[in-house]
Each structure stands twice: as C-alpha cells, then as structure tokens.
C-alpha cells in the first residue's frame, strides 16, 4: 500500500473496477463496477445469489478478488485482509450484531481499540468520547453503562454503528439493516444515516426493501447473476423498474394451470398472529394444492411455518386442520395430526450429520416401523431407505453413507424423504432448495409437485422468486408480517417482487 499516487480530480471515496471472483468453479461475480461518492448513501440491490454479499466481502477485505482494481480517494489500494480494509476506513455493520452481550455499551464500542493510560483502560477518556458517539447514533448517553445484552435489536444495531464510527469509518457498509427493524426504528436509523452522510461518511446500503431506498438512498446499483447491471440516481427509477432490473427477463414455467383447485380444504389459518412476527394471517391450503408463501428476509413468512408446526406459539387467531380447530403446542403433536415440516436450515435443524442416510430417513417414524413396539428393524429401515433413494434419485453408493458426506442437493432430498415416509396430510417446506444446485432443485420441485398430485396439501415458504412461480398453484406475498397480496402463477416476477418489496400500487392492482 505504498507509492500511492493521489489523483487530484478524484470524485469517488471508493471505486471498484472490473471485479471478478470465483469460488471453485462457480462465478460469484462475473463483472462488477462500483463507485461510491463521498457523503452519499449508495444502495446495492439484487436477488439472493446475485453477488451482493461477495462484493461487500471484497470491500471489507474478507474475500480477495481474482481480478479487478480497488481505489480509495483516487489511489489504487490492495486489500488483502479485513485489517487492511479497516485501516482504509471501511467498517461493516452486519445484520446480526457482532457484540458482547455481558459488556456495557461503552466497552462494546471501544473493545479491541481501548483508550489506554499506562497499563490500564482509560475509562474517563472513553466516557468523554462515548457521549458524542451515542449522540450521533441517536442513543441517550445514560445507555453507555448498560450491558448490551439487555438492549433491543434496534439499539444493538445503533451500538454497532457507534462502534464502527469509533473506528474512524469513512465508508460504512450496512448489510440489510432494516430487515430486523420496525418502521419507527427504521426512521431512527435513517436519521442516523443522514447525520453521518452530512459529516462526509459514505454509506453502502444493502436492502431487499425497495420502497425504503427512495427515502434514504442517493444512488442505486443493481446486481444480477454476478454482474452490476446499472448504477443510477434513485430519482430516475421506480420500485417496478428496479424490480425489473433485478430479475431480468427470465420467465419461469409454472405448474400446469388448474392443478390443485378442487381438493378439500386441509389447512385454514384465521387471523393468526404471533406478536412481533406476523399479524392477522389468513390463508387456506387445499388437498392437492401447492401454496407458495413468498417473503423477503424478515418478512415473517418463515415464522408462520414455525407456528403451524408448533415450534412457536401463536398469540392469537385460530388454525384448522381438515375443518377441526387445532392448537399445535409442539412438533410431536403436529406430526401426530399429519403435518410435516422441512426446516429451512438443513444442517442445524434437518440432518443428523454423522448418521447414515437410512437412519436420517426413518428417524421420525422409528416407533412405527415394526410390529413390535420400540423395536427397530434394520431390514424395514433399509427397505424404506432404498425405496426413497430410488424414488427421489438420491445419488449415493449406499444408503449406509453418512449424510455429512453428501452434496447439498442430495442431503436435502434425504431430509425431504423423511417427511414423506408417512404421506403427510400437510407438508410445510421452508426454503426447500436453498444451497442446492440447479439439477437437484428441478428434481425437488418435481417431487413436491408429485406429492401434491397424490393429494397432500403443500405450503412452500420461500424467498426464491423463481421457485415460488414455478411450483405454486397460488402465491401469497408476505410483507412486514402481513399477507400483502395474492397472485396466480401467471403473475410476473416483477409484480410479485414489487408487492413483497412494498410498492403500494401493485397491491391495489392485485
């Protein structure tokens, strides 16, 4: 980082050109240009997998690009570690606050770069500085002494920003800061951001909520399939136009029209609420029908699945299964009445890593596989496993392989097979193809479709736009914990994305 030649005419705080980055054989970023002006808010948007996080990691020094140049204030720099990036004034506020719950707010702000006097921490100097920092991020000075663990998520985020500022940030990256905040908390966040930009700090703002960009951003860069598609002043675009740029012209082929419209109602939710997560959600899923629940990160769609399966409790509203009211208190009860859930996080909630494929498939029904209660027949277990390995085209030399040895797509098929050992009345799938390659995704969609054709009611919770259009008979869009709109699979990606991201006009049209 020596011999930097400052360019007098530099207008950009940070400029990335011709960035390329691959992981293994996968091109995460095919070509990206990004230019950040001083004292502005620059929004970075794109669908999941468009390359936003990789680009951010490159700026933060967590990833090193394969090609391309990075310049700060007009002079070329090499960023080869996070500390290089921090030294250049880049600070990142992650979606999950990276804080120390037991330590006070003040200590959290200064930890790792304590002000010192002799061998000890200079509490007085820290106390002097903390006042100003907390003031800037909109927190009262008295909060300095409180353990961070007792604060709300919104306040923790403000502390994270204060921490970034204590690190002399000139470029502040905010990774989906609004996803976890309420509307009034977002207002506070925006006030803080405006205060920072007024002092010359540049902000890179990542968000899925397109409507708020028009309130806070100066410019927007859209990414799609690993490329930066365009950078424009926000005033030149509308929510709909941004959505169009994000999804491109890709059209999904839907399930045959008219599938699953005739069956009996299996699941019925009436004004179901879970405080702080979702409010007054009403929906029905019929036998043979696939209903897609589409929502962006933090929309509350995933929480609805959790309540249906009894992982969380509803705070109000009713749920009916095949006409009779049920209160599902725990997953074992949900299972007993014929509900199955494919959890979103396969490694944390779905698989028993060191166990064999066959055990992973039958684990939920062990007690029912034999005539002798409590006895697990190896033969029955093997037969069931072999049957599913064949039916779901799981690629493995043997059903005895541990699931940890399999690729994401095959492991997901195994976890899915577990839900099908006893044909479910209602199958709830959360992000069924996340982290799954394209081929396996196709096959999983086919399996889900066949299951519905055989009479199960299916609810797919997903933040994958292409997926929801492909496999749903009906699409419900969840935004801010409410059912914002309903679509047929003939809707366009743009319409759905606009509804999910908060374009009021689309909502009325539907």
């Amino acid at each position: 980082m020596s011999a930097d030649t400052p360019v007098a005419t530099a207008t950009y705080r940070l400029e990335l050109q011709d960035i390329v980055k691959s992981y293994g054989g996968v091109r995460a970023i095919r070509h990206a240009d990004f230019a950040l002006k001083p004292g502005t808010v620059h929004a970075l948007v794109g669908e999941n997998g468009a390359g936003k996080s990789t680009l951010i990691k490159i700026i933060a020094g967590a990833e090193i690009p394969d090609a391309g140049t990075i310049a700060f204030d007009g002079s070329a720099k090499t960023i080869s570690s996070t500390s290089d990036s921090i030294a250049l004034g880049v600070q990142t506020v992650y979606q999950e606050p990276q804080l120390f719950p037991e330590l006070s707010v003040a200590e959290n702000v200064f930890v790792g770069r304590e002000l010192k006097k002799g061998g000890r921490v200079d509490w007085k100097a820290e106390a002097d500085q903390i006042q100003g920092l907390l003031d800037t991020v909109g927190l009262p000075a008295r909060i300095a002494t409180v353990p961070v663990g007792t604060l709300s998520i919104a306040e923790q985020q403000q502390v994270s920003i204060a921490k970034a500022l204590a690190g002399q940030a000139s470029v502040l990256i905010l990774d989906e800061p609004s996803a976890i905040l309420t509307d009034s908390e977002i207002e506070v966040l925006f006030t803080v951001i405006r205060r920072l930009t007024a002092t010359g700090v540049s902000v890179i703002y990542i968000s899925h909520r397109l409507d708020e960009l028009f309130v806070i951003a100066d410019e927007v860069t859209v990414m799609r399939d690993g490329e930066t598609i365009t950078t424009r002043p926000i005033g030149e675009l509308s929510v709909r136009e941004i959505a169009e740029l994000m999804v491109g012209g890709v059209l999904a082929e839907a399930r045959p029209k008219g599938s699953g419209t005739s069956g009996e109602t299996v699941l019925e939710l009436l004004n179901l609420s879970r405080t702080g997560k979702f409010e007054n959600v009403s929906l029905t899923v019929r036998s043979g029908e696939i209903v897609g629940l589409y929502g962006l990160v933090g929309s509350g769609a995933g929480d609805i699945a959790g309540v249906i399966y009894g992982m969380d409790k509803a705070t109000s509203g009713t749920m009916r299964l095949s006409g009779s009211e049920v209160v599902v208190k725990r997953p074992s009860q949900a299972k007993r009445i014929g509900i199955r859930l494919l959890p979103a996080n396969r490694s944390a909630q779905g698989s028993f890593s060191f166990q064999s494929i066959s055990l992973n498939i039958v684990i939920g029904e062990l007690g029912k596989l034999s005539r002798v209660p409590g006895w697990v027949s190896g033969r029955v277990q093997r037969d069931i496993a072999r049957d599913f390995v064949k039916r779901l085209a799981v690629k493995t030399p043997s059903e005895k392989q541990p699931i940890s040895a399999m690729s994401g797509g095959n492991a997901q098929k195994v976890v899915l097979a577990r839900q099908l050992v006893q044909t479910p009345k209602l199958l709830v799938l959360a992000e069924p193809t996340q982290g799954v390659d394209v081929g396996a995704k196709e096959e999983i969609h086919r399996i889900i479709s066949n299951l519905a054709d055989d009479g199960s009611a299916v609810l797919v919770v997903t933040s994958d736009l292409g997926e929801v259009l492909r496999i749903s008979d009906r699409i419900l869009v969840i935004r801010a914990g409410e059912v914002a709109a309903e679509f047929t699979p003939q809707a366009t990606q743009v319409e759905i994305l606009a509804a999910a991201a908060g374009d009021q006009t689309t909502e009325e049209l539907s």
Partner: protein
C-alpha cells in the same frame, strides 16, 4: 475488603467530580456484583447461625484452619475464574495439584531445598502443565473440557509414576510458613490466606481495568466478534490456562504445608470440583463473558464454611456435599434463567 472498594470505585476520584468522571465510574463494570452481596449475606447468616449452635465456631482455633483450607481453593479459583470467563474450563487442576505436590515433596525429601526453591519448583511445574493445556486448547482449537479431561488423566499417571510407592514419607517442614501452625500465621492471619488475598486483588484489578482483562470477557461473550475487532484470542486463552497452572503450583505448596509429613495419593483428588464450585457459586457464568474474582473468593469461603460447619455441628459429613450441590444448582440455575430471559427479550 469488598465494601471498602465499593465506596471508592474509580482511582481518579481525587479529581473534582465532573459529569464525564461520573460516567467513567459508571461505564466501569460494577466493582461488586449483586450476586456477591447475596453471597456476603449468606455467609454472614451462616456464620451467625454456626456461632449460635456451635460456640466454638467463631474462635480463632476454628476460623484459622478454615482460612487455611480456603486459601488453595480460592487461589486456584482465581485462575479458574479467568478461564471460565473466556467460556473455557479446566478439569485437570486436581491432577496438576497431585503432580506438583508429589514432585515438590519428593525433591524436599531427597534434597535440602530452601523454601523459595520449593515454591519456584512448584510454580514452574504448574506453569508447564498450564501451558500444555493452553496450547492444546487455544491453538489446537479443541474444546477445553475434552483437552483438560485428557490431561487430567495424564497428569495423574505422571504423578503416580513419581510417587513410586503409595506414600511419600518424612517431608521436611520447609513449607511451614503456609501451614496450619504458629509459623503459618502473621498477626493471627494465615499467611497462605493473605497471599491468596493479595493475588486475588491484583487479578481483580487486572480483570476490571486492564485491556487484557477486558478482552477475556469479550472472548467469553462472543469469540468470533472478538476476533473481528482485532483481539488476539489465542494468546489470551493461553495466558489464562498458564496462569491457572502457575497458581496450581503455589496452591499445591499450600496444600502440602497444611498436611502432615506424609503425602498420600489422594492429594488433589476432587479439588477441581471444589475449585469450579467456588467459581460458579461466586457468580461467574459457566457460559462465559461474566464473572469476578471477589465472587470466587467468597464462593470458596462459603464452600469451606459449609464443609467445616457440618463437621462442627456433628452432622454426617456427606451433608456438606448436599449443601454445596444445592448452592451450585441455585447459582447456575439463576444464571441460565437470566440468560434465557435475555434471549427472549
């Protein structure tokens, strides 16, 4: 000691109390925590009750041996507090005490080694054992409980090899300044207890005021975030285990001194549980990120008071285990409930 500290929390209190000085006092972690006040209260009540029911309890003849028995537990507990604050644990201290004690005892029997030499030998041996633990845990990145469970067995094996026969006999009185006798007291206070208090006070200051100490709390609270803010996590962990090792060495001297001229193979046995009990009862969170040396000292006093009290009351001695067990469950239970309440909020 604790109450005095509370009245003058910040060293710069000589200055006029400006608003930032006031805040400086408050951004400091509290010098004495709520749990420590509870412990002090419990101790006072216990001592009064014991004083009423066994009049001999509140006499020097009873208190002095109690403090002698507290000293090694609290001393090693200081190191254990550092470790548990980082969300680690060391279950090898029992084995390490045994190894230190037998090496020092055998050396004293065969060579005419002065006091300072015996203490230095014990500390060096303990330090080496602590460094072994620390290196494996910090740089090998294996769970502390697994590593120290393993080294506990290895230390015991080595100690038994050094023992050779079942006991070491005829240990000279080199270490009597740490012992139960008259030579082990200054102005009526056992020297080992006084030394423990001095070391605990330094440790208390370090955890509260030195950045290195604060980093231990950060590591225990969120090791990943600690790494992100540039804290050198591995060396800090190594230091915590090495310190504990060194304190085990000194503690082994205290234990040797308070025993007879014969050392048998039960030395150190179960001590790791007493030490961990003292730390946990003292309010240090087993989940890491929170804890205090004062609590540990109080916890050690409480554990030994219960043990000694049960004996003096003429109750069956296993009741001591019952009471200590209840104290541990209450301490850990309140900690976990607190943590769960916070997660929900």
């Amino acid at each position: 000691m604790t109450l005095d500290e509370r009245t003058k929390p910040a060293p710069q209190s000589g200055r006029p109390a400006g608003s930032s000085t006031a805040t400086a006092k408050r951004i400091l972690p509290l010098p004495v925590t709520g749990q420590e006040f509870v412990l002090i209260g419990v101790l006072i009540v216990l001592w009064i009750l014991l004083g009423i029911f066994t009049p001999a309890f509140l006499t020097p003849n009873s208190i002095q041996p109690l403090l002698v028995s507290v000293a090694p537990i609290a001393l090693i507990g200081v190191g254990m507090t550092f470790i548990i604050i980082t969300a680690g644990i060391d279950v090898s201290v029992g084995g390490a005490i045994m190894l230190c004690a037998v090496i020092v005892a055998k050396t004293m029997v065969s060579v005419d080694i002065p006091l300072i030499g015996a203490v230095a030998l014990a500390i060096v041996v303990g330090l080496v054992l602590g460094v072994v633990n620390g290196v494996l845990i910090a740089y090998g990145r294996v769970a502390a409980i697994i590593i120290t469970f393993g080294t506990a067995n290895i230390f015991q094996f080595l100690a038994l090899r050094v023992f050779g026969s079942s006991t070491v006999n005829g240990i000279p009185s080199t270490l009597e300044v740490f012992g139960r006798g008259e030579a082990g007291r200054t102005l009526g206070v056992p020297n080992s207890f006084a030394i423990m208090i001095v070391i605990a006070a330094v440790a208390w200051w370090y955890l509260r005021h030195a950045s290195g100490g604060r980093h231990l709390f950060a590591i225990g609270g969120n090791a990943n975030a600690a790494r992100l803010v540039g804290i050198k996590v591995q060396p800090r962990l190594l230091v915590a285990y090495a310190l504990t090792g060194a304190l085990v060495g000194l503690g082994a001297c205290f234990i040797l001194a308070s025993g007879t001229a014969t050392l048998d193979q039960s030395v150190g046995s179960g001590k790791e549980l007493q030490v961990i009990a003292a730390v946990v009862i003292g309010g240090t969170s087993i989940l890491g990120g929170r804890g205090s040396v004062i609590g540990t000292v109080l916890g050690a006093i409480l554990v030994q008071t219960v043990t000694s009290g049960v004996t003096q009351l003429g109750w069956p001695s296993q009741l001591a285990n019952l009471f200590v067990g209840i104290f541990i469950i209450i301490a850990v239970g309140t900690d976990l409930l607190r943590e769960r309440a916070r997660r929900k909020a």
